[in-house]
Symmetry: C2
Subunit: 249 residues, 2 copies
């Protein structure tokens, strides 16, 4: 009998605290590895999954997207329930749908949304300590918004990319950056773009915080962009504040 394969697209949340990132590594526990092992247990077949992109060690995801092909006959909408029984409780697959065979979770991405969470208050918040960066200095959000405006649009983001990358084309387009204040000092920086380089959101955040504390003027960000030099930008903000919020196709 010929096996019929279907392609399934899933949305997954994970708490990155205890993982060495998304992508499989030979020597450390990753989210991809656990999902592939879960599929193997459910479908009785070894499968590779393809995500919208990797996330670094300690970075979280609310709506990471991945696809895989399977001959397993369980109804598509049952896959999230099957995953619940096979995955630890810091990884939750919460949506599954069948997609055409030419869909690709990485190559078909139209937009990615990342959210960086700051806790701007004198003392840290115990409940967000694994999900936010505690910044105890007063932040001037208006200055940060002015600085962020320089980043919006299509630019060469070499200054905002880790030097540990093989990617050559460093031109990306940022559609929007918003800064929202919430209760008790929580500040959300939401970055929307067509793609992001290695550490790019964390370096942009580290740079905007330098502006927020008054150490740098907002228009310095324009000079940093033009420098095309990683050392011109601010520090890489800690991983735990970053969440891959949503991926659009």
């Amino acid at each position: 009998m010929v096996k019929t394969y279907r392609k399934i697209k899933c949305k997954v949340s994970y708490d990155g605290t205890d993982y060495a990132g998304y992508q499989v590594q030979s020597n450390a526990l990753t989210v991809q590895q656990l999902i592939e092992e879960a599929i193997e247990q459910i479908a009785k077949e070894r499968t590779t999954i393809y995500a919208s992109g990797r996330t670094d060690a300690g970075v979280h995801a609310r709506g990471q997207v991945f696809h895989f092909r399977t001959a397993c006959s369980i109804p598509v909408h049952k896959w999230p329930y099957a995953f619940v029984t096979k995955l630890p409780n810091d990884i939750v697959v919460w949506e599954a749908e069948e997609v055409p065979d030419d869909f690709h979770a990485r190559f078909d991405v139209k937009e990615k949304i990342y959210r960086y969470s700051l806790m701007n208050r004198p003392f840290p918040d115990v409940f967000h300590r694994k999900y936010a960066w505690h910044v105890p200095y007063d932040l001037n959000l208006e200055a940060m918004r002015s600085a962020a405006n320089y980043l919006i649009g299509e630019h060469d983001f070499t200054s905002f990319c880790s030097i540990k990358t093989d990617v050559e084309d460093k031109v990306r387009e940022i559609y929007d950056i918003s800064l929202e204040e919430h209760d008790e000092g929580r500040v959300w920086l939401t970055f929307r773009g067509n793609g992001f380089l290695y550490n790019m959101v964390r370096i942009m955040t580290g740079t905007l915080v330098k502006v927020g504390t008054g150490e740098w003027e907002p228009d310095r960000v324009r000079d940093i962009l033009e420098a095309c030099d990683r050392t011109a930008a601010g520090p890489t903000a800690p991983a735990q504040g970053l969440t891959l919020w949503e991926v659009k196709y």
Copy 2:
């Protein structure tokens, strides 16, 4: 030289996940023990602290209040900074003030506010898994509000108290119970009252959820109150959803 003692009132947040509750026990790690050890390191003097009340194993606090007496001469507003260096990052003392010597964190309480957090969605939320109770069934919040109204006021709450208690007077007054819906299925139940019995908020929540799922009618709560019998009420909701939010004096 005669030592001058001052009384200091502090507000503390803690993530209860890894603790056997607030109150010192001989055989398990508690929040009180760690705070007393921190004070001993800072003030070089053994001190007992007195809180507004205990919280159970796994229950969190945003604004637990405690007081202690000390001869240590460091300025009162510096105490939270001193605590940061001596406490693990899941316990944060975020406010300190000097109070008159007749202040007592437990006996002077005028109002306590507890918040119980539900995640009402098909799949659990990885970021709130330690801070909320995941309820995957549809909840009728209007029915829950009707049921909650029976609990407001002064009542004998014997039905809503764990039988593992030595307290004899089970009359308490609830000033208000509110149910708020937030993003992505988060529901906050906020209980305000002059005091709460052992497990009382968790048993009220377990009972209200029985009403929310439609298993019980709202007016059954009136009968449960009148029964004065713990077995008449619903189950004790899990500890991790509960937070001692604020204590008023």
